[in-house]
Each structure stands twice: as structure tokens, then as C-alpha cells.
Symmetry: C2
Subunit: 200 residues, 2 copies
DNA sequence: TGATAAGCGGAACATGGTTCCGTATATCGC
DNA sequence: GCGATATACGGAACCATGTTCCGCTTATCA
């Protein structure tokens, strides 16, 4: 029904460049300082003025949500690429680490999600809608190849890794990585190909 | 083991008065504007300077936690008073409304709890440690008197009312009150004294 | 290649947390 | 009661950060 009012001029090239630069900078800054990072910091890193930032993202929540969606897209898209480049179980392992890395950059987002800001409401659904099929395809291929057990649910795994990643502590990152490796080993041990040796 | 270093002078009377005034003002302002209310607002309402506020509560979280504990104490303490003044089921009903009123003043606190600030970590335990025994005593007395059913768990009720109270919407307060009344009626209908008529 | 709309940068403003310090006063020994 | 003095007070000032505004710059188009 709706028709774009045909614009006389196309969007300026620098505007496009800047939008991208802002998103990239925001991604980096959020990862480093959490989603409460100051807007000036992001503008500085992006090499633009704060005015430019605010013109495109009228408030913080818009920016946060955009960055989040962009990262979800990138991470989910990688599943297909990995499947092309590696044997299924290796692709799966690499992707899970990639996913864990994604989660590691989400400092403070969990709290923001509960802030009630309407810009965040659709994010959990977006998260699941993208990651669940991505992981499911990896699991399916690896299970078909007999490289991992075949009774794993994508959503369960996504949640489990999310939980592992939130366990803070001194060296949370290293801890989470060890636990993830354990999980992956467990997936492989249960594979049909390697028999049913499930002692200890 | 530790011994207070015996102070030469006692705490000044005005300091005591001001601490109380700040807590009272903070309670009112938090209820009205949420826990993110500006410190100046609180100082103004308390009739003190911000300096006074900050001397006693070095940061916001300290103040929020103190107000919260004070309100929990007051609400929990009321259970005993109500039991003295009313017949058990009425005391219970009044207290549940009192508890709902307490919850209604907690705008934004839920989010703050998840903020990771260490000053908040002990609050949930404090909440439960005070409210569960208070409500349990009310339930027990009313059940003994045969005025309500006897299969109610204090913690379940606390949670249920908490959930009812969070349901937002246009007139969240009125809605929550209606639901609470329904709940209370349900408790009474199940009483031994009134038979076992659990139709519709 | 000039006209012009689109876009830009960053100063300026608004808000709110926190600190600092000169002033006021409650307490205590006399 | 009466100073002396530690204690506490008030609020201006400072800093960080979100947000707006507008004069200047520049990509686009004819």
C-alpha cells in the first residue's frame, strides 16, 4: 500500500559511510565499556561529530538495538560460511566459539533489555529467530555426518552457552571457554561413529 | 571481636534528625519518581543540603538499599500489630494490601536489582527473610482459626502478589487491587469452616 | 560548473552525580 | 552558663553525559 515518496536525490555517499562508521565504532565501544558508554566516545571513535550520530540514531536505544541486530546478523551468517569451509563438526565448534565471543561483547545488555525501553522489546525474538536456525543447520549437518550426537536442541545449546558465559569471577572469559570446550567434547563423544562408550 | 573505638562525643542530635528526614524524603521521592530520582530532589524534600545527604550515603545505591530495608522492616513489623488488632483473616487481608502497597512503591527497583551493584546483592535475601516469616505467622493464625484454607505457602503468596503487581497497563494499580481481592476471596472460600463448596 | 539541498561538526545547553570548604552549632569540660 | 572545638551543615562548583541547534561544508544534479 505505502509508496516511498520518490526522492529527488539519492542519499549522500558520506552519509552512508558515516552510518557504517558509527555502527562499527559503537560495536567496539560497547564491547569495551558496555552499552552505557558515552555517545561522545562513539562519535570520536567513528570520526564524526555527535550531531551526526544523533541525526541517524535519535536516542541511545536506537543505536544499541541497531548494533545488536547487525552483530546478530553477522554471527548467524557465519554459520553457512563455516559449513562450506570445514567439516561439519569443526564448523560447529568454530561457530560455537564465535557465538561465545559474541556473547562476551554484551556487557550490560542484559540489564538494558529489562529497562522497559520499547526499542529493546523485539531484540530477544530477533536473537532467537536468527541464531536458532543457524545453529540448527550446523547441528543437523554434523549429526548427519555422524560426528556428534543427534539429540541436541539448538535452543537448549544457545541458552546453555549463554548461562556459561554469564558466570563472572576473576577470569570469566577463560572459565567460560574451558566450559564450552567441555561441552563440545561431550557432543563429540556421543557421536554414533565413535561408539557408545559413555563411561565416567 | 571488634570493639567500637569509644567515641568522645555522641552523635549530634541534628545529624540523627537529618538522617531520618533524608530516609523519609527518599522513600517518598522514590515512590513518586522511581529509584533513579535525582539526589537534589531528595535533599530538597528532606530540607537538607546535598552535602548532608552524601555524607551519610556516599552513593545512590547506599541510599536506595537503606530506604528499601527500612520499608521492609516497617511492613513486616505491621503483621504483628494487625494480628493484635483484628481477627486473623482480617489481619491477613489488611497485611496483604499493605504488602501490595509496598510493592507499588518499587518503581524501577527491579531493574536496579539486576544492575550488578554490590550494594543491592543482599536485598532479595533481606526481603524474603523478613516477609516470609511475617506472612507465615498471619497464615498460620488464620488457618488455625479456620478462617482460610490451610494449604497456602507464604513464599508462594509473596511471589504471586509480586507478579500481580507488575502487570502494568492503564490503571495497573486498580487492576492489581482487583486481582488481589480475588485472591483473598479465594483463600477464604477454601476455609474449613465454610464447608467444601468448590463449585464453579 | 554553479546552485542547492543534504549533511556535517561541535559548541552550547540541560541534567544529575559528587566534591569541597567556609560557616554554623551541638556537645563537653569547666 | 560559657567558651572551645569537633561535628555537621548547606549549597556553590565541578564533572560527566545526553541532546539540541545552527552556521558551515560538500555531494549531487542539471
Amino acid at each position: 500500500m505505502e509508496q516511498d515518496t520518490e526522492p529527488k536525490r539519492r542519499v549522500r555517499a558520506d552519509a552512508l559511510r558515516n552510518e557504517d562508521a558509527v555502527l562499527e565504532a559503537a560495536k567496539a565501544v560497547f564491547a569495551e565499556m558496555g552499552v552505557d558508554a558515552p555517545a561522545r566516545e562513539i562519535a570520536l571513535k567513528a570520526g564524526v561529530g555527535v550531531g551526526t550520530l544523533y541525526r541517524r540514531f535519535p536516542n541511545r536505544a536506537d543505536l544499541v538495538a541497531s548494533v545488536f541486530r547487525r552483530e546478530v546478523d553477522a554471527c548467524a551468517a557465519e554459520a553457512a560460511k563455516l559449513l562450506d569451509a570445514y567439516k561439519p563438526a569443526d564448523a560447529l565448534e568454530r561457530w560455537l566459539h564465535r557465538y561465545a565471543a559474541f556473547l562476551a561483547t554484551k556487557k550490560g545488555l542484559a540489564a538494558a533489555l529489562h529497562s522497559g525501553d520499547s526499542a529493546f522489546e523485539t531484540l530477544p525474538a530477533y536473537f532467537r529467530a536468527n541464531f536458532e536456525p543457524a545453529l540448527a543447520s550446523l547441528l543437523e549437518r554434523a549429526a548427519q555426518a555422524g560426528e556428534i550426537r543427534d539429540d541436541l536442541q539448538a535452543y537448549d545449546l544457545l541458552r546453555a552457552i549463554g548461562n556459561l558465559s554469564t558466570a563472572g569471577g576473576d577470569d570469566g572469559a577463560a572459565h567460560a571457554r574451558r566450559m564450552l570446550d567441555l561441552l563440545i567434547d561431550g557432543m563429540r563423544r556421543g557421536a554414533k561413529a565413535s561408539g557408545s562408550q559413555d563411561a565416567d
